[in-house]
Symmetry: C2
Subunit: 363 residues, 2 copies
């Protein structure tokens, strides 16, 4: 295969992604639909698809856009949403999830995408890909719709681990800044630490320790530290990267999603209240669709596992084809930017903190 | 004064509220405007207003609805938003905040309302009103717009304390259930414990301990325990009361507010995109106002301090007159239901847990 050049992306090259086709709430047909959507838009993308071979080949054969661009790897086992991570770690071999991660481990694919069980995916990823030197706890980062010009902020950890000490929070700051550089094209991201007030005396004692540690490493890490930020600042333009532990981050993420979903319901009810309001809704349709596109959770689908020798994108379990395609797009962007190796270099340098090594790269 | 009877509320009686007129971001005139709004709607309400006498009397004299219904207590000092709670605890005497709390302590007023510094208000309230027997950490509870028939859920703690152990979380469950009974008229509220997953093996170890303790006390506390809930469930109809520590609760609250505010901005932008969308907005105005009313944070203004010998309502510092009036309405409802003494009785009984005492009341 030869890399297809486009006018806007002169560095275009073929990227192969490893796809776990099983384990999502809607089954493999939705995953294959999502791959077809991505393939149609992006000529530089190839897939290794993991799951029951006969079933997958049948689904893929129906999609013209996937013709010659998918390789199927047979894996009979499926990790279910109910499976405990500890069990999957011991008995996960032979599942589509294990197989999908191993394609990244073997270097056949650059990034792995799965709609499966988050805990199991993280546990298997840690066992098979291993943590990069200098990282104690890997993290899951998400893009959060924001008032910033590019429309998104990065938040991590949103659920890899329920605890984080100040060293972990510093690593999250470094990894989050690296993600923002590669995923959002920000040369010097602004990093904030999530707390219950912006004054330095507020919050838990360990927050103060993390505050000071991150502040001391900001220059070497090539990011700006804006100090403490509050929940209301997550979607703001005061900050690009929000650092927190996985317990708080997961609750904030789901609270934000729940609030957006509640408002969507209220909006629908408001416009179906009477015949008149239904007519108004028809006239307002373009505006409402414009809004919907900006707050549609399917379009920002994909939590990225950071801190491993290989990048894994976790799609929502309930993702439809649009959601799967969004996760694939994110995986493609990260693969093409060479994110995994840049992140590893960034964290490795920070672990020893030699000024020159840190300031030389753009990773 | 005699209690004014209305047709819908046969138990109507005059309620006196204590108002800290100072310390809000917009100054005392907005507070007085808010009191006038409430007085106009509610003939059973009286106020003791604390702050600089001359200034307040001038503001009050301009409002016909407040004629004969306000008593002004002179207090020259003002607690600012920047003052540290520890300093206010030592040197707060003579401030309007101190004076407002003391009117509740003296039994002259039933509930105190302040737009001032939250930390200072909690610190002064704890010193002057004291914790009720059986409560280790007081909590701040808020009403959260939800899919439930009455439109709201209760969440606590949203920021009184950054930590809570399993005993504290049990007390929050009891206090939150009591608040839901008195504030939302739910005879048997459903209580959930906020966690990062609904499975019992998920989350931090202390969450499991709190889960089991609350479950064991649900029957005696006359509430239903629905177990763990996630961030997305806060506005849901699966639960009425959401229990969490003040760190997590504060971040969830502000994340929810920030998300709602972001969507309001996006909605505005979507409808001002072009001439056509502006015309559509005019036609959709009634529907949009219907939505606005449901997600307007001013209408659910008021965090309630629970666990003290006296109830204190904290209004947003940036509240306008509509917001102040909403906080006053909440304070009036709680006063009229005899909430403070019912809550104290509930927690006192739970501390020893005699089945009969707990099942006899409706508090």
């Amino acid at each position: 295969m030869t890399a297809t050049q486009t006018t806007e992306r002169t560095d275009a090259r073929t990227v192969t992604l490893s796809i776990d086709a099983m384990g999502g709430d809607r089954g493999p047909s939705v995953v294959v639909d999502g791959l077809a959507l991505s393939a149609q838009k992006n000529p530089d993308i190839r897939f290794i698809v993991h799951g029951p071979k006969a079933e997958l080949e049948q689904l893929i054969a129906r999609k013209r856009d996937l013709n010659g661009r998918c390789e199927v790897r047979d894996a009979a086992g499926v990790v279910s949403m109910e499976d405990k991570p500890s069990q999957v770690m011991r008995h996960g071999k032979g599942t589509s999830m294990f197989s999908a991660i191993d394609s990244v481990r073997a270097g056949e694919a650059e990034v792995c995408v799965s709609c499966g069980n988050t805990g199991a995916l993280m546990a298997l990823s840690m066992v098979r890909l291993r943590k990069i030197p200098g990282v104690n706890r890997p993290a899951i980062a998400v893009l959060w719709p924001s008032r910033n010009p590019n429309g998104f902020n990065v938040m991590l950890d949103v659920g890899a681990d329920v605890r984080a000490d100040e060293q972990d929070l510093l690593q999250y700051a470094l990894m989050g800044a690296s993600y923002a550089r590669n995923g959002l094209n920000l040369s010097r991201p602004r990093v904030g630490l999530l707390n219950v007030g912006t004054e330095e005396h507020k919050g838990r004692a360990e927050m103060k320790a993390a505050h000071d540690l991150i502040a001391a490493n900001a220059e070497a890490g090539t990011f700006d530290f804006v100090g403490f930020v509050e929940g209301g600042d997550i979607p703001s333009d005061k900050v690009d990267v929000i650092v927190t532990d996985g317990f708080t981050g997961n609750i904030a993420l789901k609270t934000g999603e729940g609030t957006a979903s509640l408002i969507r319901s209220f909006l629908k009810e408001a416009f179906s209240y009477s015949i008149l309001s239904k007519i108004a809704a028809l006239l307002a349709l373009t505006s409402l669709k414009r809004l919907q596109k900006r707050i549609d959770p399917r379009r920002v689908n994909g939590g990225v596992f950071l801190g491993l020798n290989g990048t894994v994108v976790k799609s929502h379990g309930s993702a439809d084809s649009t959601g799967v395609s969004a996760a694939v797009k994110l995986a493609f962007q990260l693969a093409q930017s060479g994110f995994t190796s840049k992140l590893a270099a960034r964290v490795a340098s920070a672990a020893s903190l030699p000024q020159d090594a840190l300031n030389s790269g753009d990773n």
